[in-house]
Subunit: 146 residues, 2 copies
Amino acid sequence: MLYFEDFQPGQTFITETHALDAAQIKKFAREFDPQPAHTDEEAAKSTFFGGLAASGWHTASITMRLLLQGGPQIAGGLIGAGNDINWPRPTRPGDVLQVVCEILTTTPSKSRNDIGIVNMRSETRNQRGEPVQIMLSKLVVPRKPA
Amino acid sequence: MLYFEDFQPGQTFITETHALDAAQIKKFAREFDPQPAHTDEEAAKSTFFGGLAASGWHTASITMRLLLQGGPQIAGGLIGAGNDINWPRPTRPGDVLQVVCEILTTTPSKSRNDIGIVNMRSETRNQRGEPVQIMLSKLVVPRKPA
Protein backbone atom coordinates (compact mmCIF):
# COMPACT_ATOMS: atom_id res chain seq x y z
CA MET A 1 0.00 0.00 0.00
CA LEU A 2 1.33 3.39 -1.04
CA TYR A 3 1.46 6.56 1.06
CA PHE A 4 2.07 10.14 -0.07
CA GLU A 5 5.79 9.78 0.64
CA ASP A 6 5.98 6.84 -1.80
CA PHE A 7 5.03 8.94 -4.83
CA GLN A 8 7.32 10.95 -7.04
CA PRO A 9 6.92 12.67 -10.40
CA GLY A 10 7.63 10.38 -13.34
CA GLN A 11 6.47 7.14 -11.71
CA THR A 12 4.30 5.06 -14.03
CA PHE A 13 1.75 2.31 -13.52
CA ILE A 14 0.20 0.02 -16.14
CA THR A 15 -3.09 -1.71 -15.40
CA GLU A 16 -4.61 -4.99 -16.47
CA THR A 17 -6.83 -4.98 -19.57
CA HIS A 18 -10.58 -5.02 -20.15
CA ALA A 19 -12.22 -6.41 -23.28
CA LEU A 20 -15.30 -4.44 -24.24
CA ASP A 21 -18.14 -5.74 -26.40
CA ALA A 22 -21.39 -4.39 -27.84
CA ALA A 23 -23.51 -6.04 -25.15
CA GLN A 24 -21.63 -4.24 -22.34
CA ILE A 25 -21.85 -0.93 -24.20
CA LYS A 26 -25.60 -1.21 -24.69
CA LYS A 27 -26.28 -2.44 -21.14
CA PHE A 28 -24.46 0.52 -19.56
CA ALA A 29 -26.07 2.97 -21.99
CA ARG A 30 -29.60 1.72 -21.39
CA GLU A 31 -29.15 2.54 -17.70
CA PHE A 32 -27.10 5.74 -17.81
CA ASP A 33 -26.76 7.20 -21.31
CA PRO A 34 -29.60 6.01 -23.56
CA GLN A 35 -28.63 7.83 -26.74
CA PRO A 36 -28.75 6.04 -30.13
CA ALA A 37 -24.95 6.18 -30.57
CA HIS A 38 -24.60 3.98 -27.47
CA THR A 39 -27.69 1.75 -27.59
CA ASP A 40 -28.32 0.70 -31.20
CA GLU A 41 -25.85 -0.33 -33.93
CA GLU A 42 -28.11 0.72 -36.80
CA ALA A 43 -29.21 4.07 -35.39
CA ALA A 44 -25.61 4.78 -34.33
CA LYS A 45 -24.51 4.89 -37.98
CA SER A 46 -26.22 8.23 -38.59
CA THR A 47 -24.82 9.89 -35.43
CA PHE A 48 -21.69 11.95 -34.78
CA PHE A 49 -19.94 8.66 -33.90
CA GLY A 50 -20.75 6.90 -37.18
CA GLY A 51 -21.33 3.59 -35.40
CA LEU A 52 -21.83 2.08 -31.97
CA ALA A 53 -19.55 3.70 -29.35
CA ALA A 54 -19.38 3.42 -25.57
CA SER A 55 -20.70 6.27 -23.45
CA GLY A 56 -17.77 8.32 -22.20
CA TRP A 57 -18.99 7.61 -18.68
CA HIS A 58 -18.74 3.91 -19.40
CA THR A 59 -15.13 4.35 -20.52
CA ALA A 60 -14.52 6.39 -17.35
CA SER A 61 -16.09 3.71 -15.16
CA ILE A 62 -14.05 0.92 -16.78
CA THR A 63 -10.97 3.09 -16.28
CA MET A 64 -11.78 3.33 -12.57
CA ARG A 65 -12.02 -0.46 -12.35
CA LEU A 66 -8.72 -0.88 -14.19
CA LEU A 67 -7.00 1.65 -11.90
CA LEU A 68 -7.84 -0.71 -9.03
CA GLN A 69 -6.27 -3.52 -11.07
CA GLY A 70 -2.72 -2.36 -11.59
CA GLY A 71 -2.89 1.37 -10.91
CA PRO A 72 -1.34 2.81 -7.75
CA GLN A 73 -2.57 0.87 -4.71
CA ILE A 74 -3.03 3.71 -2.25
CA ALA A 75 -3.51 3.30 1.51
CA GLY A 76 -7.12 4.24 2.22
CA GLY A 77 -8.18 3.69 -1.39
CA LEU A 78 -8.21 5.63 -4.62
CA ILE A 79 -9.95 8.90 -3.82
CA GLY A 80 -10.26 11.56 -6.48
CA ALA A 81 -10.76 15.19 -5.40
CA GLY A 82 -11.14 16.31 -8.99
CA ASN A 83 -10.73 15.11 -12.54
CA ASP A 84 -10.29 16.70 -15.92
CA ILE A 85 -11.43 14.15 -18.47
CA ASN A 86 -11.76 14.01 -22.23
CA TRP A 87 -12.30 11.42 -24.90
CA PRO A 88 -10.13 12.04 -27.97
CA ARG A 89 -11.70 9.17 -29.96
CA PRO A 90 -14.61 6.75 -29.54
CA THR A 91 -14.39 3.51 -27.58
CA ARG A 92 -15.75 0.75 -29.83
CA PRO A 93 -17.08 -2.80 -29.46
CA GLY A 94 -14.07 -5.12 -29.58
CA ASP A 95 -11.72 -2.62 -27.98
CA VAL A 96 -9.35 -3.97 -25.35
CA LEU A 97 -8.70 -1.20 -22.86
CA GLN A 98 -5.67 -0.63 -20.66
CA VAL A 99 -4.69 2.35 -18.55
CA VAL A 100 -1.21 3.85 -18.35
CA CYS A 101 -0.72 6.29 -15.45
CA GLU A 102 2.03 8.78 -14.79
CA ILE A 103 2.56 10.73 -11.58
CA LEU A 104 2.95 14.42 -12.41
CA THR A 105 3.30 16.26 -9.11
CA THR A 106 3.03 15.64 -5.36
CA THR A 107 2.02 18.43 -2.98
CA PRO A 108 1.58 18.24 0.81
CA SER A 109 -1.78 19.63 1.93
CA LYS A 110 -1.57 23.14 3.37
CA SER A 111 -4.55 22.65 5.66
CA ARG A 112 -4.05 19.05 6.87
CA ASN A 113 -0.80 17.40 7.90
CA ASP A 114 -2.13 13.85 7.40
CA ILE A 115 -2.73 14.01 3.63
CA GLY A 116 -1.17 15.17 0.40
CA ILE A 117 -2.34 15.74 -3.15
CA VAL A 118 -0.93 13.64 -5.99
CA ASN A 119 -1.61 14.75 -9.55
CA MET A 120 -1.80 11.80 -11.92
CA ARG A 121 -2.32 11.57 -15.68
CA SER A 122 -4.14 8.45 -16.84
CA GLU A 123 -4.36 7.49 -20.48
CA THR A 124 -6.89 4.78 -21.34
CA ARG A 125 -5.74 3.14 -24.55
CA ASN A 126 -7.29 0.70 -26.99
CA GLN A 127 -5.52 -2.39 -28.40
CA ARG A 128 -3.78 -0.20 -31.00
CA GLY A 129 -2.31 2.00 -28.28
CA GLU A 130 -4.57 4.91 -29.24
CA PRO A 131 -5.88 7.01 -26.33
CA VAL A 132 -9.67 6.84 -25.94
CA GLN A 133 -9.65 8.79 -22.67
CA ILE A 134 -7.18 11.19 -21.10
CA MET A 135 -7.72 12.10 -17.47
CA LEU A 136 -5.87 14.36 -15.08
CA SER A 137 -6.75 13.39 -11.50
CA LYS A 138 -6.09 15.07 -8.21
CA LEU A 139 -5.77 12.22 -5.70
CA VAL A 140 -6.12 12.55 -1.94
CA VAL A 141 -3.34 10.41 -0.45
CA PRO A 142 -2.65 9.81 3.26
CA ARG A 143 0.80 10.60 4.62
CA LYS A 144 2.80 7.80 6.18
CA PRO A 145 1.96 7.46 9.89
CA ALA A 146 4.88 8.63 12.06
CA MET B 1 -34.17 20.18 -30.37
CA LEU B 2 -31.59 22.86 -29.73
CA TYR B 3 -28.88 24.05 -32.11
CA PHE B 4 -25.81 26.16 -31.35
CA GLU B 5 -27.71 29.34 -32.22
CA ASP B 6 -30.34 28.55 -29.55
CA PHE B 7 -27.85 28.81 -26.67
CA GLN B 8 -26.84 31.91 -24.80
CA PRO B 9 -24.92 32.54 -21.58
CA GLY B 10 -27.12 32.53 -18.49
CA GLN B 11 -29.70 30.00 -19.75
CA THR B 12 -30.55 27.40 -17.14
CA PHE B 13 -32.03 23.90 -17.25
CA ILE B 14 -33.32 21.81 -14.36
CA THR B 15 -33.59 18.05 -14.73
CA GLU B 16 -35.88 15.44 -13.29
CA THR B 17 -34.78 13.70 -10.09
CA HIS B 18 -33.23 10.32 -9.29
CA ALA B 19 -33.64 8.55 -5.95
CA LEU B 20 -30.52 6.64 -4.99
CA ASP B 21 -30.42 3.71 -2.57
CA ALA B 22 -27.77 1.43 -1.07
CA ALA B 23 -28.55 -1.41 -3.49
CA GLN B 24 -27.85 0.78 -6.54
CA ILE B 25 -24.64 2.10 -4.97
CA LYS B 26 -23.31 -1.40 -4.24
CA LYS B 27 -24.36 -2.82 -7.62
CA PHE B 28 -22.50 -0.10 -9.56
CA ALA B 29 -19.49 -0.35 -7.28
CA ARG B 30 -19.19 -4.13 -7.55
CA GLU B 31 -18.84 -3.73 -11.32
CA PHE B 32 -16.78 -0.54 -11.62
CA ASP B 33 -15.39 0.67 -8.28
CA PRO B 34 -15.17 -2.20 -5.79
CA GLN B 35 -13.73 -0.29 -2.84
CA PRO B 36 -15.12 -0.82 0.71
CA ALA B 37 -16.55 2.73 0.91
CA HIS B 38 -18.85 1.88 -1.99
CA THR B 39 -19.60 -1.83 -1.50
CA ASP B 40 -20.08 -2.50 2.22
CA GLU B 41 -21.89 -0.43 4.88
CA GLU B 42 -19.82 -1.82 7.78
CA ALA B 43 -16.41 -1.59 6.14
CA ALA B 44 -17.30 1.88 4.81
CA LYS B 45 -17.45 3.26 8.36
CA SER B 46 -13.68 3.13 8.76
CA THR B 47 -12.94 4.78 5.40
CA PHE B 48 -12.38 8.41 4.40
CA PHE B 49 -16.13 8.61 3.69
CA GLY B 50 -17.24 7.44 7.18
CA GLY B 51 -20.08 5.38 5.72
CA LEU B 52 -21.45 4.03 2.47
CA ALA B 53 -21.09 6.52 -0.39
CA ALA B 54 -21.61 6.22 -4.14
CA SER B 55 -18.62 5.99 -6.42
CA GLY B 56 -18.02 9.39 -8.00
CA TRP B 57 -18.37 7.66 -11.38
CA HIS B 58 -21.80 6.46 -10.35
CA THR B 59 -22.82 10.02 -9.50
CA ALA B 60 -21.40 11.11 -12.86
CA SER B 61 -23.31 8.40 -14.70
CA ILE B 62 -26.59 9.28 -12.97
CA THR B 63 -25.92 12.91 -13.83
CA MET B 64 -25.59 11.93 -17.49
CA ARG B 65 -28.95 10.17 -17.36
CA LEU B 66 -30.57 13.17 -15.70
CA LEU B 67 -29.11 15.54 -18.30
CA LEU B 68 -31.09 13.57 -20.89
CA GLN B 69 -34.18 14.03 -18.71
CA GLY B 70 -34.54 17.79 -18.51
CA GLY B 71 -31.11 19.09 -19.49
CA PRO B 72 -30.64 20.80 -22.86
CA GLN B 73 -32.08 18.60 -25.64
CA ILE B 74 -29.43 19.10 -28.29
CA ALA B 75 -29.83 18.19 -31.97
CA GLY B 76 -27.53 15.21 -32.56
CA GLY B 77 -27.38 14.35 -28.86
CA LEU B 78 -25.42 15.40 -25.81
CA ILE B 79 -21.78 15.07 -26.80
CA GLY B 80 -19.07 16.14 -24.38
CA ALA B 81 -15.64 17.01 -25.74
CA GLY B 82 -14.25 17.47 -22.25
CA ASN B 83 -15.30 17.68 -18.63
CA ASP B 84 -13.85 19.03 -15.45
CA ILE B 85 -15.55 17.17 -12.62
CA ASN B 86 -15.32 17.17 -8.85
CA TRP B 87 -17.29 15.84 -5.94
CA PRO B 88 -17.46 18.36 -3.07
CA ARG B 89 -19.32 15.94 -0.74
CA PRO B 90 -20.32 12.27 -0.77
CA THR B 91 -23.49 10.98 -2.45
CA ARG B 92 -25.30 8.82 0.13
CA PRO B 93 -28.00 6.14 0.14
CA GLY B 94 -31.35 7.94 0.31
CA ASP B 95 -30.14 10.96 -1.64
CA VAL B 96 -32.49 12.32 -4.28
CA LEU B 97 -30.39 13.83 -7.04
CA GLN B 98 -31.24 16.61 -9.45
CA VAL B 99 -29.05 18.52 -11.88
CA VAL B 100 -29.12 22.27 -12.41
CA CYS B 101 -27.28 23.45 -15.54
CA GLU B 102 -26.17 26.90 -16.59
CA ILE B 103 -24.82 27.88 -19.99
CA LEU B 104 -21.57 29.82 -19.51
CA THR B 105 -20.23 30.60 -22.98
CA THR B 106 -20.90 29.76 -26.64
CA THR B 107 -18.09 29.76 -29.20
CA PRO B 108 -18.28 28.94 -32.92
CA SER B 109 -15.72 26.33 -33.97
CA LYS B 110 -12.69 27.81 -35.71
CA SER B 111 -12.04 24.71 -37.79
CA ARG B 112 -15.59 23.59 -38.69
CA ASN B 113 -18.48 25.78 -39.77
CA ASP B 114 -21.12 23.18 -38.87
CA ILE B 115 -20.54 23.04 -35.09
CA GLY B 116 -19.94 25.23 -32.07
CA ILE B 117 -18.74 24.71 -28.52
CA VAL B 118 -21.05 25.40 -25.59
CA ASN B 119 -19.56 25.56 -22.10
CA MET B 120 -22.03 24.40 -19.48
CA ARG B 121 -21.79 24.17 -15.70
CA SER B 122 -23.83 21.34 -14.15
CA GLU B 123 -24.39 21.07 -10.45
CA THR B 124 -25.77 17.76 -9.20
CA ARG B 125 -27.55 18.43 -5.91
CA ASN B 126 -28.99 16.24 -3.18
CA GLN B 127 -32.44 16.73 -1.63
CA ARG B 128 -31.03 19.44 0.67
CA GLY B 129 -29.79 21.41 -2.32
CA GLU B 130 -26.16 20.63 -1.49
CA PRO B 131 -23.87 20.02 -4.49
CA VAL B 132 -22.47 16.48 -4.65
CA GLN B 133 -20.91 17.00 -8.09
CA ILE B 134 -19.83 20.08 -9.99
CA MET B 135 -19.01 19.62 -13.64
CA LEU B 136 -17.85 22.00 -16.33
CA SER B 137 -18.56 20.50 -19.75
CA LYS B 138 -17.51 21.48 -23.21
CA LEU B 139 -20.38 20.39 -25.46
CA VAL B 140 -20.14 19.88 -29.21
CA VAL B 141 -23.31 21.40 -30.66
CA PRO B 142 -24.38 21.45 -34.33
CA ARG B 143 -25.16 24.77 -35.98
CA LYS B 144 -28.62 25.32 -37.39
CA PRO B 145 -28.80 24.09 -40.99
CA ALA B 146 -29.02 27.04 -43.41
